[in-house]
C-alpha cells in the first residue's frame, strides 16, 4: 500500500506530467515567430526606457520608521490585554495586579510617545511643500490676474 507521503509524491508526479502535457500540446500547436519588437518589454506601447528600480523620497524612511515603532507598540498591547484582566491574578493580589499592569503599560506608551514628541519637535514630521513660484517673464497678462486666483483659493 501507498504511504501518505507516497500519495503526495504521486500528486507531484501527476502535476508535473499534466503540466508538461499541456505545455507540450501548446508547443506543438502554436506558431513561433519572435521579433525584437515582440520580445521587448511591455510598457503600454511606449519605449521601455530606464530602470524599474526608481529612487523615491528619503523622507518616506523616517515616516516608515515611526510607523513601525507604533506598529510594534500595538503588537505588544495584544498579549498585555490578555493578562491584564486575568481574574486569578487580580484575586491573588487583592486588585493590585490590575493597577500594576496598567501603570506598566502606560510607562511603555509614554516612552514611545516621548519618542514621537522628539521626532515632532525635531521637525521630521514636516513635509516640505513645494513653493509656488511666480513666473518671471514679460507677458501681456497682468500678474494681478494670477494673484486674484491664488488669493481666492488660499483664503478659503
Amino acid at each position: 500500500m501507498l504511504s501518505d507521503f507516497g500519495i503526495v509524491l504521486l500528486a507531484f508526479i501527476f502535476a508535473a506530467v499534466a503540466l508538461m502535457l499541456v505545455f507540450g500540446i501548446s508547443w506543438l500547436l502554436r506558431p513561433s515567430n519572435p521579433t525584437t519588437e515582440k520580445l521587448a518589454t511591455y510598457e503600454s506601447g511606449e519605449d521601455p526606457i530606464g530602470n524599474a528600480n526608481i529612487r523615491f523620497n528619503v523622507r518616506f524612511y523616517i515616516v516608515a520608521l515611526i510607523f513601525i515603532l507604533f506598529d510594534v507598540e500595538l503588537v505588544f498591547l495584544f498579549p498585555w490585554a490578555t493578562v491584564f484582566g486575568n481574574k486569578e491574578y487580580i484575586q491573588q493580589t487583592n486588585g493590585l495586579w490590575g493597577w500594576f499592569t496598567l501603570v506598566e503599560m502606560f510607562i511603555f506608551i509614554v516612552v514611545l510617545a516621548l519618542g514621537l514628541a522628539y521626532v515632532w519637535a525635531k521637525g521630521h514630521l514636516e513635509w516640505v511643500k513645494p513653493d509656488m513660484k511666480t513666473p518671471k517673464f514679460k507677458s501681456k497678462v497682468p500678474m494681478s490676474m494670477y494673484e486674484n486666483v491664488n488669493k481666492k483659493y488660499t483664503e478659503k
Partner: protein, 169 residues
C-alpha cells in the same frame, strides 16, 4: 457530425447520445474562435460603444470575448476609434507584441478610412489598415453594439476557416 453542424440553428438536441467526429484543425479553430481575447484599450467615441458591448446589455463574453490588459495574452485587437499618428506608433508596437495568430477588428469609420477626418485631418491615419493588417471592418460612426457583435461573429467565421499548418508558417 462535427462542430459546424453542432452550432447550426437547425441542430435539434434529441437527448440521445451523439458522436462528434472532427479534425485537429476544426477542434483548434473551434476553441480559438470561441475565446477571442481582445487587448483592452479604446481610442475614441467608438470605445464607448465597445464598452457598452462588453457590458451587461450586450454581453460580449457570451462569445468568449474577454478583454485582457496585456498584449501577451490577447489575440484580438479592436481598433475602436480615430487613429492619430501619435497613437499609430503605439498601436503598431502593441500589435507586434501580441502573440501569433492575431486578428484585428477595425471598428468605425475613423479606423476604416479616416472617417470625418479623411480629407483635412492632418493628424489622422486614413485607415488603420495602412499600419497593421485588418481582418474585419465594422462600418458605422460609431457602430452600434450589434454591429460590433456582427463583426466578431464574422471574425469567428474567418478563424474557423483557417488551418493550423498555414498558421505555423
Amino acid at each position: 457530425m462535427n462542430f459546424d453542424t453542432l452550432e447550426k440553428e437547425a441542430h435539434i438536441k434529441t437527448g440521445e447520445s451523439e458522436v462528434i467526429l472532427t479534425s485537429l484543425d476544426e477542434l483548434a479553430n473551434w476553441a480559438r474562435a470561441n475565446s477571442l481575447w481582445p487587448l483592452g484599450f479604446g481610442l475614441a467615441c467608438c470605445a464607448i460603444e465597445m464598452m457598452a458591448t462588453y457590458a451587461s446589455n450586450y454581453d460580449l463574453e457570451r462569445f468568449g470575448v474577454f478583454p485582457r490588459n496585456s498584449p501577451r495574452q490577447s489575440d484580438l485587437m479592436i481598433i475602436s476609434g480615430t487613429v492619430t499618428f501619435k497613437m499609430a506608433d503605439r498601436i503598431s508596437r502593441l500589435y507586434e507584441q501580441m502573440p501569433d495568430p492575431k486578428y484585428v477588428v477595425s471598428m468605425g469609420s475613423c479606423s476604416n478610412c479616416g472617417g470625418p477626418y479623411w480629407e483635412h485631418g492632418y493628424h489622422v491615419v486614413k485607415g488603420v489598415d495602412r499600419i497593421i493588417p485588418v481582418d474585419i471592418y465594422v462600418p458605422g460612426c460609431p457602430p452600434r453594439p450589434e454591429a460590433l457583435i456582427g463583426g466578431i461573429l464574422k471574425l469567428q467565421e474567418k478563424v474557423k476557416q483557417q488551418k493550423l499548418a498555414d498558421l505555423k508558417k
